[in-house]
């Protein structure tokens, strides 16, 4: 069979960069295949995708050498329009690609550009919409849709073209866990119905492997370092080596000393079959673990009492929220999109004023205090660092919040330097911010909040879109701040973050606080997982499979063990 996509000695270098981003790629993808391309940030995986859909070379400037053919045409000599009728691309950012004023218009966008006549267009649009189950939302504006729904609209928008190849660039990055799972299921359904070739670019392997994948391409530093079946890759240690998180159940089985070469169906938690001997190994590993006692502080730092919230003339967003947060806690707020997580944080910080109820900080009622007054005690770090940064130099950005506070230049400099040291940015202090990576920018924004000396720091999705290495960098840093006494609250969709780094989780669904317990207890509670659109951890499945009667404790043991392993390595 002829490959539908074929890279031959292919290299690409962006004009603004010194070195090529893709180096000597040789890769064939065959019709009907489902391929996962993974790699750490900067490995070149998204660039590879952009070569296939034609954004390279038609939208990004750079030098190509070697050859790439897609469906029989060489991309260099083609056009983005010719390629777009063959390759349908669903990009990462759901708002950037939803260009229509309503669902129907956005799905019809490609047809409009192709001058399809109105009757035919309406028919084809409806057909595509029903393939992704969005047909009863045709007149909705993007502002009325969730992230998952917007993504489905994007899928429908490329399906109108009868494309032969579907390309997904980090489809899971902006979704809550349950929605991510249904996205993966939907991709599988579309592939089965239409027979298209599917390419998924993603570093969250375990979530993608929920459905069968034929092949995984692992990239590092612009090269393909592995091209094999999922089973073979999971049995190896390559993922870890190249900074990608292994599926948790795989890591656990490796810890337990199970020989993965003899285990069937290891590419998904749904298909794995453990022998009695292997189950015994897992149980033995569990029996060997010892548990640490956690010290208990009993002084409450932040109390939220009977908080109700609604925007003018719209539905109520928060219903009677009550919670108490202790000094020095590290806490996750989880739940589906729009469940009220971010709103609660905004209420706590005083950004939203129009609420009923009380906010008490350190035994003092701050309900009527201004944003500025609360900011001295409670800092808020936005998800996108670019929305916070307004200075071009690191020092100035961090010092910004101290201006007009009556501190002298000398005192300001001292405090900024102290914070920069804590954040590992001291040696960069005179750098322009534009020279920093995303993760470093995130640190700058955290530093700019930290410098004001708050006791509580609230972070919205601190690790969204980050690969494993950057995730670990950011989280270890937050962990350190926490150990130095800061109370940290994080809004997150990352179930592993919740398990690994927090003592306690507040679970939200539809504006109500549904649960308040440890991350492991949350993820071992199938009903709660379902209610709040979370996703079970595969460790829970392993515990069930092996007959361990306290899955919560099993998960806790795994997390503790993993932390120890990691500190040995570093």
């Amino acid at each position: 069979m002829e490959p539908i996509i074929s890279f031959r000695n292919f290299s690409f270098q962006y004009n603004a960069q010194k070195n090529p981003t893709l180096k000597d790629i040789n890769l064939d993808i065959y019709p009907g295949e489902k391929v996962l391309i993974c790699g750490a940030s900067g490995s070149g995986k998204s660039t590879l995708g952009n070569c296939i859909n034609g954004l390279i070379p038609f939208s990004f400037d750079g030098k190509i050498s070697g050859k790439l053919t897609v469906d029989g045409i060489e991309t260099k000599n083609s056009s983005i329009f010719e390629l777009s009728t063959r390759v349908g691309t669903v990009l990462q950012d759901p708002d950037g690609q939803f260009v229509g004023l309503t669902v129907a218009e956005d799905i019809a966008f490609a047809l409009e550009n192709d001058c399809v006549e109105n009757e035919t267009m309406k028919r084809q649009t409806l057909l595509s919409a029903s393939k992704v189950n969005i047909e009863n939302r045709m007149n909705n504006a993007p502002q009325d849709l969730s992230g998952g729904q917007k993504q489905r609209v994007s899928m429908a928008g490329v399906l109108v073209d009868d494309v032969k190849i579907l390309l997904f660039d980090e489809p899971l990055a902006n979704l809550d866990p349950a929605t991510g799972k249904s996205a993966i299921e939907l991709i599988e359904k579309i592939k089965n119905e239409t027979g298209t070739t599917v390419i998924i670019i993603e570093h969250r392997i375990e979530d993608v492997l929920w459905e069968r994948v034929d092949r995984i391409i692992l990239m590092d530093d612009g090269r393909i370092v592995s091209d094999s079946s999922p089973e073979k890759l999971l049995r190896s240690s390559l993922l870890k080596e190249y900074g990608i998180r292994e599926p948790l159940y795989i890591t656990q089985l490796k810890y337990a000393g199970v020989d993965l070469n003899n285990v069937e169906g290891i590419d998904s938690i749904r298909t794995i079959r453990l022998s009695e001997a292997d189950k015994e190994k897992v149980r033995n590993w569990y029996a060997r673990q010892d548990r640490e006692d956690k010290t208990n502080v009993n002084d409450y730092l932040l109390e939220v009492e009977n908080v109700d919230f609604k925007y003018d003339e719209s539905e109520q967003i928060l219903f009677d929220i009550n919670t108490k947060i202790k000094k020095g806690e590290m806490l996750a707020i989880v739940g589906k999109n729009g469940a009220g997580k971010s709103t609660l944080c905004k209420v706590i910080c005083g950004f939203e004023r129009n609420y009923n109820g009380k906010i008490i900080f350190d035994h003092e009622d701050v309900t009527d205090k201004s944003i500025r007054a609360r900011a001295r005690n409670i800092g808020y770090v936005m998800q996108n660092p670019n929305q916070m940064i307004s200075q071009s130099m690191i020092f100035d950005e961090v010092a910004l919040g101290l201006k007009n506070t009556g501190l002298s230049e000398e005192e300001i400099r001292e405090r900024v330097y102290d914070v920069l040291k804590i954040c590992g940015l001291y040696s960069f202090r005179n750098w322009p911010i534009s020279a920093l990576s995303f993760g470093q920018k995130k640190r700058v924004t955290i530093a700019s909040i930290l410098v004001m000396g708050p006791q509580i720091i609230i972070l919205d999705e601190p690790t969204a879109g980050q690969d494993f290495r950057h995730y670990t960098d950011i989280m270890d840093f937050l962990d350190e701040l926490n150990r130095e006494g800061k109370t940290i609250i994080m809004v997150t969709h990352d179930m592993h973050l919740m398990l690994e780094y927090t003592d306690r989780s507040l679970v939200f669904a539809d504006g109500k606080l549904e649960a308040d317990k440890s991350g492991s207890a949350v993820l071992c509670d199938p009903e709660l997982v379902d209610l709040a659109d979370l996703k079970e951890t595969s460790l829970f499945n392993i515990a069930n499979m092996t007959g361990i009667d306290d899955p919560v404790d099993f998960v806790d043991c795994f997390i503790a063990y993993e932390k120890k392993e990691r500190s040995h390595e570093s």
Binding site: N15, Q17, K18, S59, D61, Q391, S434
Partner: protein, 181 residues
């Protein structure tokens, strides 16, 4: 990124949306009663400098008409003046290579000059003359209005627009200078 025609379509749309949001929802008291500091012209100038005269002109015009429409009545002469303002700043901006990350003394002088000419033409000539011809308004009144509007817009577009352009120029990686760390 290549600076292609689709990008200009999008820049026009986003520029107009930004103009609308700043004109409609963002008013900062200036200290003079009933007069607010307005930012839409600063934003329009930034778009004109980055994307050129056509985007500067159309984004302002569309933004202005949509803003007027949301209040219930379009002031065509002033919308037209807004369009001319963006056009002129955009034409001057051919001398400012902001995309290469340059925004220092010479560029700033050009930018200030561009705003001076654009404001004089737009608010000193087009808007008032239009009002005299079409609305038969008193020449003294419309020239006074034009002078106040022009002086204010000049100040805000130069100071705020200048700071924005300076900030933007600092975010641009100089060609060939990025290296993997």
């Amino acid at each position: 990124m290549k600076n292609n025609s689709v990008q200009k379509v999008v820049a026009t749309g986003i520029g107009a949306a930004l103009f609308f949001v700043l004109a409609r929802f963002v008013a900062v008291p200036s200290g003079i009663p009933n007069t607010n500091i307005t930012f839409q012209y600063a934003a329009q100038a930034v778009f004109a400098v980055i994307y050129g005269p056509v985007v500067g002109c159309l984004s302002g015009f569309i933004g202005h008409v949509l803003t007027d429409m949301s209040w219930g009545g379009v002031w065509w002469t002033w919308a037209f003046a807004t369009a001319v303002y963006g056009l002129i700043v955009g034409l001057f901006a051919k001398k400012i290579n902001i995309r290469d990350g340059n925004f220092s003394k010479n560029e700033i002088i050009t930018y200030v000059l561009a705003n001076l000419v654009a404001n004089v033409v737009a608010w000193g000539i087009i808007a008032p003359v239009g009002d005299i011809v079409i609305y038969k308004e008193d020449a003294n009144l419309v020239f006074t209005q034009g002078l106040i509007a022009g002086a204010g817009d000049f100040l805000f577009a130069v100071v705020i627009g200048g700071l924005l352009l300076y900030g933007y120029s600092k975010t641009i990686a100089k060609s060939g200078s990025l290296d993997k760390e």
